[in-house]
Symmetry: C2
Subunit: 171 residues, 2 copies
């Protein structure tokens, strides 16, 4: 388990609903130690380019050594985001990603940590029981070099009972 | 191995360089059978939300059953793109993704296939030996339901010798 703190339990009480997110709100993420084994395992399944799948071959490429697939780096961000936010939230999944930028290679031994910031909250016009939250995510390493930034959409359910109260208000 | 055709060798002759990509060019991808085991394995590592990590829990969610993490679906696209294009190319990695849209849930038993289309080619002003290609990717299932669309940037090296020839031309 490359998460550096013991991961929390997967089943948790839900205390983050759509109404609880505000633009500017920040969540500091935990950390993850990237290992060579993990880079190779991911690469051989999902992204077997020479600089991801084989340390020897990687030395002959422009990267001069093994680097993690950008999709794996995104996966690390996702796990840290789950631990800090999604597993205690009313998450209903995601319709997509606005952008991802891989700013610097991630290498074996890098300790990644990061942050998620709420950029925008959009109540759904069609589905009163949920809304979309735009989140900006970042990851950096132990030297504070920024490795990835991205922006993602998340769908979250409203707090149970809250739509009924609004409906009663006639809006 | 969930790739449905036997994967090609990982080491291949390079016959796709930056100069070989043209806007409008399309590559038909191979196919991948998504299994429950694979969905659970990915989820427990990178995206342990209830609808990704546990078939029983997933039944109680809005998705009414297990669905693959969108990041895993992106990984499937990446592997198919590697098999068809990147492993025979001068790929130098990617600076990022323009957007991803997960259009419908991917479930165990889905057979994914897709397409990659060249949208734009941009020679690098600073690095004469390479350029950026914008690729649009799509995945759909056995019922031709579209599951994902995305647009990604790829860096590719020029054909060896080609920059020298241009330099000699004085441009």
């Amino acid at each position: 388990m490359p998460l550096e703190a013991a991961p929390g339990p997967l089943e948790r009480p839900i205390d983050l609903y759509f109404e609880d997110f505000r633009p500017g709100q920040r969540f500091r993420l935990g950390s993850w130690l990237v290992t060579e084994d993990e880079i190779l395992e991911f690469a051989l399944k999902y992204d077997p380019q020479p600089f991801h799948r084989d340390p020897e071959l990687a030395r002959t490429t422009a990267f001069q050594g093994l680097i993690a697939s950008g999709w794996q780096t995104a996966g690390v961000w996702m796990r840290l985001y789950c631990e800090e936010v999604l597993l205690r939230s009313s998450s209903l999944g995601s319709p997509g990603i606005q952008e991802v930028r891989w700013l610097a290679p991630v290498r074996p031994g890098d300790r990644l940590t990061g942050e998620v910031e709420v950029v925008e909250v959009r109540p759904s016009a069609r589905h009163r029981e949920r809304g979309t939250v735009v989140m900006r995510g970042q990851l950096w390493d132990q030297m504070e070099e920024r490795k990835m930034r991205m922006a993602a959409f998340g769908l979250f359910g409203r707090r149970p009972g809250s739509t009924t109260a609004e409906d009663a208000g006639g809006t």
